[in-house]
Symmetry: C2
Subunit: 270 residues, 2 copies
DNA sequence: GCTAAAGTTTCGCTAATTCGAACAACATTC
DNA sequence: GAATGTTGTTCGAATTAGCGAAACTTTAGC
């Protein structure tokens, strides 16, 4: 049936789909899972046992959750990602300077994934206004987003060739998140042009209503894009001189020093 | 061949073994992987394609590494773990107070896994002495350890029934890490008795030569063990009054306030 | 430009996954 | 407290789909 070019292993695919169901529901039981992926109970059961034995799932009574084994893999990716240490320092520095939510993201498969986030005790949202929406929409390590709906993603796209951008669009489309999300290609390419002129990207509530963010691509020692730094906050604070001068300058300077750190790491001065 | 009681899915098991190989080698190529798990190249190839398509692996040229998809799962576990927020606060508080490496760990399958670690810029090791060994042996989120070789693990074991401890020992044994590791059962049970008297566990270089740590079990609202807090540092600093008075008191107080926070979370006062 | 090694595809065989049904263990309901 | 429904677990048979060997293509080294 599946005449897709690339050879795959369906059993593994099924196991992965089960993991996906469990993650999305946070907790799921056998019958529920079997229904969701369209498998016989007995088959799903065998998958669950296998995944549990390897620590990919954790069983609590008859409910399955994601297991700690996957934590080991996740942290491995982070700590072995080229430039992780330097990016963490840059995020810390920029967080202290701006007192806003700062993240470092990387592109993967046409989407951006958060690799480093502000250590949260430092970032306090004003309790008086919409704390909930702002706080609950914080980027979390491991979260991934469509590139067109985040400042960081736009900043990265602006560095890519037109055909590379097209390929990503073909694959991922331009799904709408809010009223302000860019949803057609011509607007996107105009925005990218603007970003190249300014040197940084602005995303005005394109992902979350009431949140504005700035992003700037960071190049690695080989000249290719290593990722992007992003600063985000509520619209009432990311405004005026902060939006147009203060944050762009801070972003620019931190990005530059991060690029320097990355270059130094790859060819140490000694 | 496999006459183990529990029904499993071998294909998935194979995929997991491949992931394990890639993680341990940090980066591996097709032939290398096929050899390591004892598969034909063509078979391994299909697994690799499947895992890559799902973001479990990332391909850089012909080298495979762990993919960002697994980061999503890993962070999900952390943030959905009952009491994660409270444990993070406790770790931060205890780190500031002690200025040493602090972790919160949980038991899983007879081993302990680090769920929260000190945010590292705060903890600086004295550059004058063995920085390398101490710094490189920092606990990292997702790392797991034998319970008998860490203070946190011992503290948890001391709360378990004798038969539960026996079951864990049967499964995991008492592998030696250093000259000081507890490797026989009678010594272990004596140590556990001592821990119950003192109210906290001390691990004197049982995991890493030159590192000493203290651990204290933390109970959840239901009375069962939720995890353990641990403070670790080089032997020259974890000594004398610090070892016998200051750290035990800090650990005790933080553990108590964490238990209070966990209780409050499960039955909010409103 | 040749050789060697590595990655990719094809294809038949057989082992292993799959499903359905039967069994056991709980909860729920009357 | 018996009966009924639901959920998890085991078993067996049919067939799918995972596996390995070899052919093919591409890349790397000399």
């Amino acid at each position: 049936m599946n005449d897709d070019a690339r050879p795959t292993v369906q059993t593994t695919q099924t196991s992965i789909e089960i993991l996906d169901v469990v993650r999305r529901r946070d907790s799921a039981r056998l019958t529920e899972i079997a229904d969701a992926v369209g498998l016989a109970k007995s088959t799903a059961y065998k998958h669950l046992v296998t995944l549990e034995q390897n620590g990919f799932l954790r069983r609590d009574g008859n409910a399955y959750r994601i297991g700690l084994g996957l934590l080991t893999y996740g942290e491995h990716v982070r700590h072995h990602w080229p430039g992780f240490e330097e990016a963490t320092e840059a995020v810390t520095e920029l967080t202290e300077r701006t007192q806003e939510e700062v993240d470092f993201v990387v592109e993967d498969g046409g989407r951006v994934t958060t690799l480093v986030e502000s250590y949260h005790p430092w970032v306090k949202y004003d309790d008086s206004v919409d704390t909930d929406s702002a706080a609950s929409y914080r980027a979390r390590v491991g979260d991934s987003y469509g590139m067109h709906s985040t400042a960081a993603g736009l900043a990265i796209l602006a560095e890519y060739s037109e055909e590379r951008v097209e390929r990503i669009l073909d694959r991922r489309g331009l799904p709408r998140r809010t009223e302000h999300t860019i949803t057609d290609r011509s607007t996107l390419f105009e925005t990218l042009e603007r970003i190249r002129e300014d040197g940084y990207a602005v995303n005005d509530q394109g992902y979350t209503e009431g949140m504005r963010s700035l992003g700037k691509a960071v190049c690695g020692p080989d000249g290719t894009v290593a990722g992007a730094l992003t600063v985000a906050g509520p619209t009432y604070r990311i405004d005026g001189a902060v939006l147009e001068e203060h944050l762009p300058r801070a972003l620019e300077e931190t990005a530059r020093s991060l690029e320097a750190a990355l270059a130094e790491r790859s060819c140490p001065p000694r």
